[in-house]
């Protein structure tokens, strides 16, 4: 049991627990807060995997912007009624998810890869410079397309949500 392993297990437990909270809490705001926690834990997992830049972006973009938007919408709509819950679908969803886990886990663990940090890396792995290098050379076209996608999303959101344009 190394320190890294302990850290991983703690983070894994926390993120699974908080993700379960996301789906099992009847209150939407509680779900959202749990999701923020999950995202935060996953961001820390990113940092432990030598991806500090992506981890920071995870907090900045996901937790800091997207989830705030969710909360904003929840507060804006302020749905008073708690959701109804169907037993049938609850059971189907649970069984389906369990089956998915039981099928995915053997598939993922019988593979030949073993250690997550086996590849030799330089100290700057995962730094902003490295990520930028990758984004602005190999992925420059997807990068530009992503910017267009965001623009379209902004326009679409304005058109959809505004009462009168």
């Amino acid at each position: 049991m190394t320190g890294a392993m302990i850290l991983f297990l703690i983070l894994a437990g926390l993120s699974i627990a908080s993700s379960l909270l996301v789906i099992f809490q009847r209150n939407v705001v509680h779900s959202a807060v749990s999701l923020v926690a999950t995202l935060f834990f996953i961001a820390i997992l990113f940092v432990t995997l030598d991806a500090p830049m992506v981890g920071i972006l995870q907090v900045l973009v996901y937790a800091g912007a997207i989830m705030v938007l969710f909360l904003f919408v929840i507060m804006l709509l302020h749905p008073g009624v708690l959701e109804r819950r169907g037993v049938l679908w609850w059971g189907l969803g649970a069984v389906g998810a369990m089956l998915l886990i039981f099928e995915l886990v053997p598939l993922l663990s019988e593979s030949s890869w073993r250690a997550a940090d086996q590849a030799p890396i330089t100290g700057s792995f995962g730094s902003p410079e490295m990520l930028a290098q990758s984004l602005f050379t190999d992925f420059v076209l997807p990068f530009e397309i992503a910017s267009v996608l965001l623009l379209v999303a902004i326009l679409g959101a304005v058109v959809l949500a505004k009462r009168e344009i």
Partner: protein, 636 residues
């Protein structure tokens, strides 16, 4: 054989004119559209003249545009060719066509659809040129169908009147019957040639390899081709469309249904003369049908009252003459009559048109009369053309018709009976032409008052073409006189195409005698017409009530041929179609389609329940599929 790349311009310029008129005509205005069409035909005419003048005796010009169909080993070129025969046809089509275009400027000047009219007319010239300049049978067929289309469009030009569109339909459908035979002939020829290892439709190649065909096959092929010719050139039994085609504008009748298109059948047989010469049985059939048609149509023409219908039956009759000439193997003579006929028949139609124009659309001859003083120029041109068609000495018809009669009598394929029919027809021709002349221009004017007030001679733009055509009706014949008068330049000109004709023994005595006999019967016809219609007006009434009026009504009703066709062909066919439409189509075909559709629908009604509109159901389906795929990977 020489390459001459401007040849393609001859048909293409009228096509361009048609396209311009279709797309821009409304903006150009009616007058400019007409002038544009005339200019296009004029250019085509001068190009044809140039080709004609530069064509050496026996020479052939050729212009290959591109390879149209390529299917190894078969190749069809889109190419034009001009030889002596085509040159003559070119001049007829573009020359007469030009005059009629100019005439139309006046005749159609007040018509709403003038732009459309000139577009059609130019399109017709294009297809006709395609037909006569085609280098192979397929291209000829394209032109053949194209002129049929234009004929249909122009017969039904005033489409507001249902009778016109019905007449157009009739022309088109009757032509389809002929075209079907023609197409079968072409395909059979192609197939038979191909089975001999020669995959071609090119005229030159066909001529070179015609000897490979078995005689029986040739007879069949030529008979089928002749079926096409009877359709297009209005011979028994398919002549019925031509009189109805008179519903179109008169210049159209002159151009398409007298001077050019209807002669396509003659042209085709002349173009394929090498095949027809190989099939004496077919030639006998052609000669018989030609002579019968000539006589038969002339008898109908005697009793008609519509000024244009008389001319229409006259056309059928004259076409019969041409086929008679073809049938006795005298192709050059047939083309000669075609040539002269183009002038005087166009002239007759146009002067009739001039009268109709002046009388504001009146076509019934019984309501005319005494128009000589109102229409001085029209009268004289009509008289000239009538003399020419009747075979008055030294006019065009005199020479060409005489030659046909002589060939029918003297050529090896000819016989006395053929000559007799043709001779009687000559008399009838003179009779009905002068009957028309006297009814229209002599006697008292029987037009209604308000019409009479507006009678006027046609403008220059119409009379000048009339005068030119009248001149042609006289001069055109001087090219090919009988041997004993002066030397013909017609036969030597066409000799390279048709080859040296079989030697018909020249017997000036008999020839002269026949000529005198012909002139005699023509004079008799003239005299009878004069007596009946210019002096004693009783005779027609006596004749028409003779034998209880049966013969007269029989003639007036065109021997009831339309009614017979209707009873024998149209009604059974319609009944059959009706049964197919009402019982077979609705019950079997629609039943099958509807049955399949109903089965699909009832199935869909069940399965579409799956599409509940609930996103979560879909997602669950998605999840199930994913699980199954994963399970496959896990447990395979």
């Amino acid at each position: 054989m020489e390459d001459l790349s401007f040849l393609r311009l001859v048909p293409l310029i009228p096509l361009l004119g048609a396209a311009l008129n279709v797309f821009l005509g409304m903006r150009l205005g009616r007058r400019n559209a007409g002038l544009l069409a005339c200019a296009c035909v004029a250019i085509a005419f001068f190009l044809s003249l140039w080709a004609f003048w530069s064509l050496p005796a026996g020479g052939v010009f050729k212009d290959t545009v591109f390879t149209w169909i390529e299917s190894d080993p078969f190749q069809a070129q889109l190419s034009f060719r001009v030889d002596a025969l085509t040159a003559v046809m070119l001049l007829v089509v573009t020359g007469v066509g030009l005059l009629i275009h100019i005439y139309s400027l006046g005749y159609m000047g007040h018509d709403e659809g003038m732009v459309r009219y000139f577009a059609y007319l130019n399109l017709f010239i294009f297809f006709m040129l395609l037909l006569v300049m085609a280098d192979n049978l397929l291209l000829l067929f394209v032109g053949w169908e194209g002129v049929g289309l234009c004929s249909y469009l122009l017969i039904g030009f005033w489409y507001h009147d249902p009778t016109n569109t019905i007449a157009g339909n009739k022309a088109f459908i009757v032509n389809r019957i002929g075209d079907f035979g023609f197409l079968l002939g072409v395909l059979l020829l192609f197939w038979e040639m191909g089975s001999q290892g020669v995959w071609t439709v090119d005229f030159l190649e066909l001529e070179r390899n015609a000897h490979l065909l078995a005689p029986g096959k040739v007879t069949l092929i030529t008979l089928l081709l002749f079926v096409g010719a009877t359709g297009k050139s209005a011979q028994i039994p398919l002549y019925v469309w031509l009189p109805d085609a008179m519903q179109g504008p008169t210049p159209v009748s002159a151009l398409i249904h007298a001077a050019t298109m209807v002669t396509a059948g003659i042209y085709m047989t002349a173009r394929l003369h090498f095949l027809f010469s190989m099939a004496p049985a077919t030639l006998a059939v052609i000669a018989t049908i030609g002579a019968l048609t000539a006589f038969f149509a002339a008898t109908i023409g005697v009793a008609q009252n519509d000024i244009k219908r008389v001319l229409a039956y006259s056309t059928v009759s004259q076409l019969g003459y041409m086929f008679l000439a073809v049938g006795v193997g005298a192709f050059a003579t047939a083309i000669f009559h075609l040539f002269t006929h183009a002038f005087f028949k166009a002239c007759l139609f146009l002067s009739a048109g001039s009268v109709i124009h002046g009388l504001q659309g009146e076509q019934d001859m019984r309501k005319m009369g005494g128009l000589k003083s109102y229409f001085p120029i029209t009268y004289w041109t009509h008289l000239t053309a009538a003399l020419a068609i009747s075979g008055a000495p030294l006019t065009a018809g005199f020479f060409s018709k005489d030659q046909i009669l002589w060939q029918a009598f003297a050529s090896p394929a000819g016989s006395f009976w053929l000559w007799l029919l043709a001779w009687l027809t000559a008399g009838l021709t003179a009779f009905y032409m002068f009957r028309q002349l006297f009814l229209v221009f002599h006697g008292e004017c029987k037009a209604e008052g308000h019409v009479r007030a507006h009678i006027h001679e046609s403008p220059l733009v119409m009379t000048v073409p009339l005068i030119l055509l009248a001149l042609g009706s006289i001069v055109a014949g001087w090219l090919g006189p009988p041997e004993f008068m002066w030397e013909s330049i017609w036969d030597p000109w066409l000799q390279p195409v048709f080859g040296v004709p079989e030697e018909v023994p020249h017997e000036p005595m008999i020839e002269g005698l026949l000529m005198v006999l012909t002139l005699g019967i023509a004079a008799l016809g003239y005299y009878l017409a004069y007596v009946s219609y210019a002096r004693a007006r009783k005779i027609p009434e006596i004749l028409s009530s003779w034998a209880g009026g049966t013969p007269y009504h029989c003639l007036l009703s065109k021997y009831y041929v339309d009614e017979i066709y209707d009873l024998l062909l149209v009604r059974p066919f319609t009944a059959c179609s009706r049964w197919l439409a009402d019982v077979f189509d609705l019950g079997v075909i629609d039943g099958a389609v509807n049955g399949v559709a109903n089965r699909v629908k009832s199935n869909s009604l069940f399965w579409r329940q799956l599409q509940s509109g609930n996103v979560q159901h879909y997602l669950f389906g998605f999840l199930t599929g994913t699980l199954l795929i994963l399970a496959y990977y896990l447990y395979r």
